[in-house]
Symmetry: C2
Subunit: 332 residues, 2 copies
């Protein structure tokens, strides 16, 4: 596990190598600059190489050759312009699920804005207990939040997160990004990101909220089982190029902090407006499945709590609180 | 009344003066170029001066000094990039109402895309028979349309027009423009434009549709009666400068033609999406007044026909087909 902090040795060494990028820096110089032994420098360099950094070592010292395309803590922190979001990063090669790790951290007092990132998840979770396939090359992340709002407002954070993800993808890439109610991010009509929010509340107060985000980044969805494959896509497939994961995390955390601060300031109505603007569900003909039952109708909008309102074929209106939403086709 | 046409003498004279702007052109030269008498040139120049053009005449001929800031036909046509919208312009100093004039023109066979513009209206009409105050300095315009769609779809043209107006104002000016259901254009929470659609249909076929548009341009709403004043604004008041009316008409006609063509191609669902994006009503707490009755609730959305859906305080959903909508305040 990696945990960032300004004083962490690995970060300090990386900082020095970055500054002199392309040039050799003597081990002695690094050691004296951060006041550790030459052996310690050598050990830490090995760890960095193990993480994916390509570092050449010779008589002239160490030289940073290549940065791995992974959302590694140092890479995320390097140009992160946030007040608190993502300042504490817990990074793993593989975990069962980032939400599980985040829960443990939250139970042990992790602060608001701490995040967990894993290169892959053995048992990633989707909504309603579904498995979420999380191979390496994706972005699997959980944010720990401790908002001072009534627990009844916690579900709103799913929509807050959806807005921040969709906004980020819209800003970064020229793609047809939108939100499928309640919280799937689509490119065209294919899912590229899912969000899973979990809340721990006691006695009418939120202890913590875990916002899990999975984005299909640098892999092909051909590796998914056929049933999931057709409705899914990845940024790499859409853009026909590799995505810089660390940059995407930075931009997302910046947008998320702004939107989350709005939420804490009671500006959820403004966020809902943004959600509606980004929605691909509103104005579509949809089916919502829940516990074997299906409701079918034209999505006219969402109410102030994010509940979906359908107009059925017979003209009656119906509220849909939750369920699996499928866009059938447009109907005029 | 002015009517444009490529061959109209006034337009031809203006064309010549424009080309030589700032220079004198001899009356003889104008006369020979468009094959009329010198006296006719002199008469037409007088008409142009009467319209507001400042034209100097001396021994050296005529010189165009200043163009009036009015949506005069020649000014609108000069840089109008449309296929048919606004190619026929009927211009008046004053009329009872542009819709009334347009109706007469439509009854006499005016083609789709013909428009009527007046500098002021003696008895401008708003929705539900209300008076619409139309002093000079505003933009009072009616468009004649002959869409080949069932009459039941004609009301959709109100929303089509609202989208085109709001889009144009958003593109031209850096203002907080949006639509109040069903068809008022607001800047902030003040009305700047109203739309009145009238349909003539026979035997299940649309004969013509009149789309009346009134925009408060270059006057101060202080001239309105106190009751109307508080909810109204003008572009001049918002921007603290004079608006070029002719340019606004051009840009609007261009946007309107695109949106109206979409409508004719059956793409109303896409226009509705745009409408929702521009809506200030959805997500607001509203009151709708109709025939002495009031419905109050949170506006969750509009259905595929543009009918407003409210969630009342007791949680029930209600469809509102028409009425006077007032935004009460935001509620979260």
């Amino acid at each position: 596990m990696w945990k960032t902090g300004a004083k962490m040795t690995k970060n300090q060494i990386l900082g020095i190598l970055y500054k002199k990028k392309g040039e050799y820096v003597l081990g002695e110089k690094i050691a004296s600059e951060i006041d550790i032994s030459k052996t310690k420098v050598s050990d830490e360099i090995k760890l960095l190489i193990n993480e994916g950094y390509v570092i050449d070592s010779s008589d002239s010292g160490y030289r940073l050759m290549k940065i791995p395309n992974l959302p590694l803590p140092y890479e995320v922190r390097r140009n992160l312009h946030t007040q608190y979001m993502g300042h504490e990063i817990h990074y793993f090669k593989e975990v069962n699920s980032t939400n599980d790790v985040a829960r443990e951290l939250a139970e042990n007092g992790a602060e608001e804005g701490a995040i967990v990132i894993a290169e892959s998840q053995r048992s990633g979770k989707g909504r309603r207990g579904k498995k979420w396939i999380s191979p390496s090359g994706g972005l699997w992340m959980t944010i720990i939040l401790r908002p001072n709002v009534p627990p009844t407002k916690a579900p709103q954070l799913t929509l807050v997160t959806g807005v921040a993800v969709a906004k980020t993808l819209n800003e970064e890439y020229d793609l047809d990004v939108g939100i499928k109610w309640p919280n799937d991010i689509l490119i065209g009509d294919k899912k590229v990101c899912g969000i899973l929010t979990e809340v721990k509340a006691d006695m009418g107060t939120i202890d913590y909220v875990l916002v899990g985000i999975g984005i299909d980044l640098n892999f092909d969805v051909d590796i998914f089982p056929p049933k999931l494959r057709e409705g899914a896509t990845s940024l790499k497939m859409e853009l026909k190029r590799e995505i810089q994961g660390a940059t995407l995390v930075q931009r997302f955390l910046q947008n998320f902090e702004v939107t989350y601060n709005q939420f804490k300031e009671g500006k959820f109505p403004d966020i809902l407006r943004e959600w509606r603007r980004l929605s691909k569900t509103i104005g579509s003909y949809v089916e919502v499945h829940k516990k074997g039952r299906t409701v079918r109708g034209y999505a006219v909008g969402i109410n102030k709590d994010g509940i979906l309102i359908l107009e059925l074929d017979d003209g009656t209106l119906r509220k849909v609180i939750s369920g699996e939403c499928i866009h059938i086709k447009r109907k005029d």
